[in-house]
């Protein structure tokens, strides 16, 4: 009898909490994606932080897209297509941005060489 009750409890728990769990997972993903997007109205803030009309609607749209079964990458690609590369905080490496990516590396190598010469070669 106890076992039956236990099974019933587990069944009820999974039945009622499954929806919540999926909703929670979706919310985590919405937050993750919106943190990586730039708000175009308050341009110093992410979509996650901003409370502008644009950001609020954007979060709703991301939620809708996730419900429709879109993956994270598909959502980023869609938004980049609509608003341009600039909307994403994660800058791609292409011919417009290679200097941005390579310059710190070059400075690092140059600084390393300087330090190496100073310390080890006398």
């Amino acid at each position: 009898m106890k076992f039956k009750k236990f099974i019933l409890l587990i069944f009820l728990y999974t039945f009622f909490c499954q929806g919540d769990l999926i909703a929670n997972n979706n919310n985590v993903l919405v937050n993750k994606i919106s943190k990586n997007l730039r708000c175009l109205i308050c341009q110093g803030q992410s979509v996650y932080d901003s409370q502008s009309d644009f950001a609020v609607s954007m979060k709703l749209l991301i939620k809708k897209k996730i419900k429709e079964g879109n993956t994270e990458k598909q959502i980023y690609d869609y938004l980049k297509n609509q608003y341009g590369e600039w909307i994403s905080y994660d800058t791609e490496i292409n011919k417009k941005t290679y200097l941005l990516w390579l310059f710190p590396l070059l400075l690092f190598i140059f600084g390393g060489i300087l330090i190496f010469r100073k310390v080890f070669i006398k």
């Binding site: 175009l40 109205i41 009309d53 644009f54 609607s57 709703l60 609509q82 608003y83 341009g84 400075l107």
Partner: protein, 173 residues
Amino acid sequence: MKKNIIYLTIVFIFIFIFILFYKGLYKTNIYIPNELNNKNIVQFSGKDLFSEVEINFGQLISNNKFTIINIWASWCLPCRSEHHFLMDLSNNSKINLVGLNYKDRPTNAKKFINDFGNPFSKILIDPDGTISIELGAYGIPETFIINKDQKIVKKFIGPLTKKNMREIEQITN
């Protein structure tokens, strides 16, 4: 000699960074998305403001040469200032003007139309703003010109001006 080369390189790098940042100071850092020209319009559907019937946007553009979507709201002041331009556009037989009512109360939207006139052939509602975001808009008012191939020919951000009206005439003629 070697020391001089190192010093010169460091000075050169500093000058380069200084010029880069100095130029950056005078560059406007407000980004305006302009990625949509010549792209296909996203397919969407919305409820009609008056009949509340769900309408697919594709149905609205099939027969006409140019379709103009105007995103507006009754609470948006710049929308009022551009409304007379929209009324003028509604007289142009080559244009099908469709309104997208953004985050508005239907009663307020209807009152706005009653007070200022209805330039639109259809008004769809966007209560949560997601249709506008899907279209690629980021504020209101915004106006999209779409050709019969369902491609966005031009997008105007902000209220329409006389200059914009001339551009619209050039495009649609």
